[in-house]
Amino acid sequence: MAELNINERQAGDVTVLDMSGKITIGEGSVALRTAIRRLLEEGKKRILLNLAGVGYIDSSGIGELVSSYTAIGKDGGQLKLLNLTQKLQDLLTITKLLTVFDVYESEADALNSFK
């Protein structure tokens, strides 16, 4: 089984990536980077990462989230986060990234925020 599984679906003009597994150095980080690059190449710039199934992330994975956020922003798009686990929320808090990312607990609220 892959370290990180990513399922893509469309909700209006927002692309939702349902992710499960680990975003860690190597396979997990690369899978996220590849998915985001592909979406940008396809012109999909409104992206919601559903992280409910991501139980673990390391500094490389956090770096990849930041890189994705920056790349999408430079391309005129928006990246938002949905359903952070408590551990991930704690990590984003101590790294002060919770003040940077737009984070939601409800998918409906997250989708509405893109409008």
Binding site: D58, G63, T70, T95, K96, L97, V100
Partner: protein, 137 residues
């Protein structure tokens, strides 16, 4: 369990991070430490081994990463040794400073210091860096 020591010698590859984390999780599980502490140790070990592989040994497969795990009634101590040129941990910028928050790297040492009770680095005279991390029970 009152005391145990385990030593691992692993290649300088990215997949060593997961191998080391699994071995440490096994060791920590036997040591009877709390789940919260085990999570922190896991985070710190992954970051330390990542640094050893990427920045210390620069993925040179002729070089190895050595890990020593010790448990005592008071603490779990983990040392990670690489064969790289060494570095000054105090020179690593604080990733939580405003100008560094959006950097894509540079959080590994911060996590090690956050999750462990003691973290120190030693440059060996013969070459290589050892990071020693201690988590009290």
């Amino acid at each position: 369990m009152t005391g145990e020591t385990t030593e691992l010698t692993l290649p300088s590859r990215i997949d060593t991070v997961a191998t080391a984390a699994a071995a440490v999780a096994d060791f920590v599980g036997r040591s009877g430490i709390s789940d919260d502490a085990a999570f922190g140790i896991d985070m710190a070990v992954r970051e330390a081994v990542t640094n050893a592989v990427l920045h210390g040994n620069r993925q040179d497969e002729k070089k190895v990463v050595e890990i020593i795990l010790k448990s005592s009634p008071d603490a779990v101590e983990i040392s990670v040794h690489d064969q790289g040129p060494g570095f000054n941990p105090e020179a690593v910028p604080d990733p939580t400073e405003q100008e560094n928050i959006l950097k894509t790297s540079g959080r590994g040492i911060f996590f090690m210091r956050t999750f462990m009770d003691e973290v120190d680095w030693t440059i060996r005279p013969g070459g290589g860096t050892t990071v020693r991390m201690l988590k009290r029970r």
